[in-house]
Amino acid sequence: MRVALFATCVNDALYPSTAVATVKVLERLGVEVDFPAEQTCCGQPQYNTGYRRATEPLVRRTARAFAGYDHVVTPSGSCVAMVRDNYPRIGAKALAEGRGRELSGAAASLVPKTYELTEFLVDVLGVTDVGAYFPHTVTYHPSCHGLRMLGLGDRPRRLLEAVRGLELVELPGAEECCGFGGTFAVKNADVSEAMGDDKIRNALSTDADVLCGADNSCLMHIGGMLRRQDAPLRALHLAEILASTEEEPLR
């Protein structure tokens, strides 16, 4: 099976290790991975801040980049939610404004084939044990988009539970937003920090070594706060844990 990796702009520029890990996990499971270089960003930051028109070139670009593939996989729940929930809206609005039959077609084409990594592993490949090894205590933060918009449910947990050596501990208040919210973190910095503080307090109370999530934008916020406070807990993307093996363990 050949799939296209949608690395996302955040991972490309700031967290390439997550994209690399995604490639390794998929390849280990016998999937042939492509990285169409045309891709950049899904347009979520612009869209959520109120600049819908500015996302249109990115919708078109994303659709073009992935046109030749049946499956697009990305290690970012919020980007999938953007494609699934908002691309059709962007297309419909463009149509209503008398522009872009092509745009709405492009938007629609992506919806059925775009998968978040854990969805793809569990639903399409039908695996929960990806042969990973990670001897640490881990607590899982389900990001809002994955939790509520995609309904990832227990897929991430099932994947983590199958990792050898890994001890999964419950995160109190797991379903509460960490306070990132894209530009919210900047526009409402005080509230965002207060939310992040509570998330970190809950995470530290677990005594885990690693806080795992499936969305690096939330992890950038949580991890950045953890580091500022020199906390004995690191934030790590789920893909990197799944990529870790006995032969090639994550340091």
Binding site: A54, T55, L58, V186, G196
Partner: protein, 474 residues
């Protein structure tokens, strides 16, 4: 200060103090978490919750689509039942109508059931200006009124107060408005409730005019419905000689049968009760029973404009259950006052900027008062997609190009250009990686400074993913 929200600072400014107020945050956290857990339990008891929710949504949508027709039907039915209907285009008109109606009774005191519509119009202050005193009789409203405070929650307007604060307010303020608090009042709930009961009973027995809102208006019969927990509302609705109800035009539902859906959705969503303790319904006037004169003031005040907005109109489905407040992480930290209106929390963030427009600082900032976590949409019993409306309103605010938004627009355009030119993007990423040792830990500039106040930036990688791919896979 109560009632008037003009000149409110923007949401982030208004929230700043609340976020640092440890008592307030504690009060809010305790209260919202208790009720949200209870609600989840009450909702889980029904295996047809999803269908009820869909039904509630559809009934409301249908009614809103034919609002003109149903409002005329309400008017006809109320008139036929012996009531009088008044139409108010805005707050000033509604207040003028109510003031005139009270003056015509010759009274200078009124008792009120908790009513959001009259909070929205600032009726109490308008009456006060004409020498008419309005007494709030809902316990939480009473606390707010006595404390010269503003409501901070739809259902529990005094949610931001703890028992000790309430005792202090009762002790120092009750005597000014009527029967003083009993000697040696403590902060036990039973004593506080008894003090309020004694204080309010005098008001109920004396009052000849009652003012209410309504949770629902049934078009086919002209029946108004108030749903409450304390029974104080029922006193206001049945004892006075004249009853004036001020109701937003979106509160109409077509038939009695439809009520069944909402009488299930509302209590479970709001108080986590299977059924609310008091449901009072009245249809016009009845000889020898209840008020002898009944007036219905139908309030628009921005609702027609809201209705005209295809995405935003879903906010008018709201049945004011407050479930969205109780799960909202932003409300929990910022408190209700920061939203600058009688409608706080997620619903306030989408309703106020639609009812009032986005010209003021507070209204322009409300659509951004959310991390778009989606918890509000999940619990809303009439499935209002609050995040969708927030983003839609953000677009409106950004388009109007107020303070900060011109720069932001330019930045967004630049980002889009960069993201639409992968070669330039890659060059930028490479440059950032090459110079990564030089990057300071705390950044200057508005956004970046805020970010690095409390968080470290991630280390820049040695190379962007694109380059890794090129070297290792392409």
């Amino acid at each position: 200060m109560s009632g008037t929200y003009l000149g409110m600072p923007s949401f982030p400014e208004a929230a700043r103090d609340a976020v640092r107020d440890v008592t307030l945050r504690g009060n809010l956290r305790r209260a919202t978490h208790t009720i949200r857990d209870k609600r989840a339990g009450a909702v889980a008891e029904l295996d047809d919750w999803g269908r009820l929710r869909e039904a509630g949504k559809r009934i409301k949508d249908h009614t809103l689509r034919h609002l003109d027709r149903y409002l005329v039907q309400v008017e006809e039915a109320v008139t036929a039942a012996g009531g009088t209907v008044h139409w108010a285009a805005d707050a000033a008109e509604a207040n003028a109508i109510v003031t005139r109606l009270v003056q015509e009774t010759g009274e200078s005191e009124v008792v009120k059931v908790k009513s959001m519509a009259t909070q929205e119009t600032g009726l109490n202050e308008a009456l006060e200006a004409h020498g008419i005193r309005a007494y709030e009789t809902d316990l939480a409203e009473l606390i707010v009124q006595l404390g010269k405070d503003r409501p901070s929650h739809l259902l529990v307007p005094a949610i931001h107060r703890n028992r000790g604060e309430i005792r202090d307010i009762f002790r120092s303020e009750m005597s000014e408005w009527g029967r003083p608090a009993p000697e040696g009042l403590t902060d036990t709930p039973a004593e506080l409730a008894e003090a309020a009961r004694l204080h309010l009973r005098e008001k109920f027995l004396r009052a000849r005019v009652g003012i209410s809102g309504a949770n629902f208006m049934v078009a086919e019969t002209g029946t108004l419905v108030v749903v409450e927990s304390e029974g104080n509302g029922r006193m206001c609705l049945t004892l006075p000689e004249t009853l004036i109800s001020v109701v937003g035009i979106e509160k109409v539902i077509p038939t009695w049968r439809d009520l069944e859906v909402f009488l299930q959705l509302l209590p479970r969503s709001s108080t986590a009760e299977r059924m609310n303790p008091y449901t009072t319904m009245w249809t016009g006037t009845t000889d020898g029973d209840g008020p002898r004169a009944f007036h219905l003031v139908l309030l628009d005040n921005g609702r027609t404009d809201t209705l005209a907005d295809e995405v935003g109109r879903q906010a008018l489905r709201c049945i004011r259950c407050s479930a969205c407040l109780n799960v909202c992480p932003v409300y929990e930290r910022a408190g209700g006052h920061a939203y600058g209106s009688v409608y706080p929390g997620p619903i306030g963030a989408i309703l106020s900027p639609q009812l009032r427009g986005t010209a003021s600082a507070i209204d322009a900032s409300l659509p951004y008062a959310s991390s778009l976590c989606g918890a509000c949409y999940d619990v809303c019993p009439v499935a209002i997609d609050i995040p969708e409306v927030l983003v839609h309103l953000r677009e409106k605010v950004a388009d109007q190009g107020g303070k900060g938004h011109r720069l932001e627009r330019a930045a967004m355009r630049a980002a889009t250009w960069l993201l639409d030119h992968p070669a330039a993007l890659t060059a930028g990423e490479r440059l950032a990686s090459k110079t990564r040792k030089l990057h300071p830990e705390r950044l200057p500039g508005p956004g970046a400074r805020q970010w690095t106040n409390s968080r470290d930036l991630p280390d820049l990688p040695a190379e962007p993913f694109r380059d890794w791919w090129k070297k290792n896979r392409a």
